[in-house]
Amino acid sequence: MPGTIPIALTVNGAPVSRAVEPRLNLVDFLRIDLGLTGTHVGCEHGVCGACTLLLDGDMVRGCLVLAVQADGAVVETIEGLSERGALRRLQDAFLARNALQCGFCTPGMLIAAAALLAQDPAPSRDAIRAHLSGNYCRCTGYHAIIDAVEAAAAKP
């Protein structure tokens, strides 16, 4: 059996050190080792977007990164982003528009939408759809989500 490998990283602003198995995904490390269960696990092969998180400021799939690859990195999850208010406008708009039902996809949707608004503050509906095409929602049919992102973008 392969041994464990020590890693040290920053998660939601706090330093974290652990020893991990090489095969451990970053999203499982966050959920199981750190108890940060806001990042969800869906398909585990990069298709559904439920495990979307920020790695060194870039939106990535938590299921397609090994925890050992995050050694030395800065990770932010839905917990940290919510706490520091980075998603406030989007969260308010999702609530106002009922842009979620079961909520499983919502952390990923919020982070993906925030990444879009960071590069394009006033995206078209087509641009929103294209950008969110990598995040699956099995409840809402997407219209309310597109509405919410559009509404959040329009707010000053």
Partner: protein
């Protein structure tokens, strides 16, 4: 699912990485951006003894243009290609194609070298490399060799890379003022694997094309050149008859597979549609960023 157990090593230099591959050979897999390897591990399609993470080899990153050549390091991410002024200006086919590669979160990790070396028959970048006659710069213990894109892709997930070699960079000719590229693909959803795709490159003189390269993907085990159609589009005025003849010639050039996504006949029809679209684009290009 979860990946099977493996050992992990993160070499600090190319020579260290090559040494590890030479020692471990077939039991080792290279990890670059991981956007193809990780799904394969998670689904247990692969179970390497050792994962060699080359993500720390910063020399393999970056885009440089010099004397009409553009060299792109293998670890250059899709998002870096998308944002590169050098790529937009000198290798615009890549800039257009990248927009169709998966989704933003994947493009933030996935690398050009990973996509080329993994050689997924449905991937965009291998077809672009063939259309542009890229040179693959391949390092091994004995030194570096250059493999033309035409000779690189051998089969499904199979390339000219040996088990102890690493793709370190790709080299492209900067496009000349009379050359143009075009790209089109059909997928069920934005970012999904293409049902059929086409990367094209040609010399354009008014309404005539020369040195035409039409490279289809997701239509065979490797990128597939439509040589008969290329010949029919070369050196004659691009009338409706010319394009129709080239479309008809695809019947001989392509032998598309049938799967749950599309029948062979549907793929043939899509290939004809894409041919007309890229010819239009070659003659009358839409500026990058202005189209869909």
């Amino acid at each position: 699912m979860k990946p099977p157990s493996f050992d992990y090593v993160r070499p600090r230099s190319l020579s260290e990485a090559l040494g590890i591959l030479a020692a471990r050979g077939d039991g080792a897999r290279l990890l670059a951006g991981g956007q193809s390897l990780m799904p394969a591990l998670n689904m247990r399609l692969l179970s390497p003894e050792l994962v060699v993470d080359i993500g720390g080899l910063d020399d393999l990153r970056g885009i440089v243009e010099r004397d009409g050549l553009v060299r792109i390091g293998a670890l250059t991410r899709h998002v870096d290609l998308q944002r590169s002024a050098i790529v937009v200006r000198h290798v615009p086919l890549l800039a257009v194609a990248i927009d169709h590669v998966a989704h933003p979160a994947i493009r933030n990790r996935g690398t050009i070298g990973g996509s080329i070396a993994f050689a997924d028959p449905a991937a965009e970048l291998p077809a672009c490399a063939v259309a542009l006659q890229a040179r693959m710069i391949v390092a091994g213990m004995a030194g570096t060799r250059i493999v033309p894109a035409d000779e690189f892709f051998l089969g499904i997930y199979e390339t000219a890379l040996g088990p102890d070699e690493i793709l370190v960079a790709l080299e492209f000719d900067a496009v000349g003022p009379d050359q143009r590229s075009a790209f089109a693909e059909l997928a069920r959803r934005r970012g999904d694997y293409a049902l059929v795709g086409l990367a094209a490159h040609a010399r354009v003189d008014a309404d005539r094309l020369d040195e035409v390269r039409l490279v289809y993907f997701s239509i065979g085990p490797t990128p597939v050149r439509a040589r008969t159609a290329e010949a029919l589009l070369t050196g004659r005025p691009l009338t409706r008859d010319t394009v129709t003849a080239a479309q008809a010639a695809l019947a001989a050039d392509l032998d598309p597979p049938a799967d749950t996504q599309a029948s062979s006949a549907a793929r043939r029809q899509m290939a004809r549609v894409l041919l007309a679209r890229v010819v239009m684009e070659l003659l009358d290009p839409v500026p990058i960023g202005a189209g869909g």
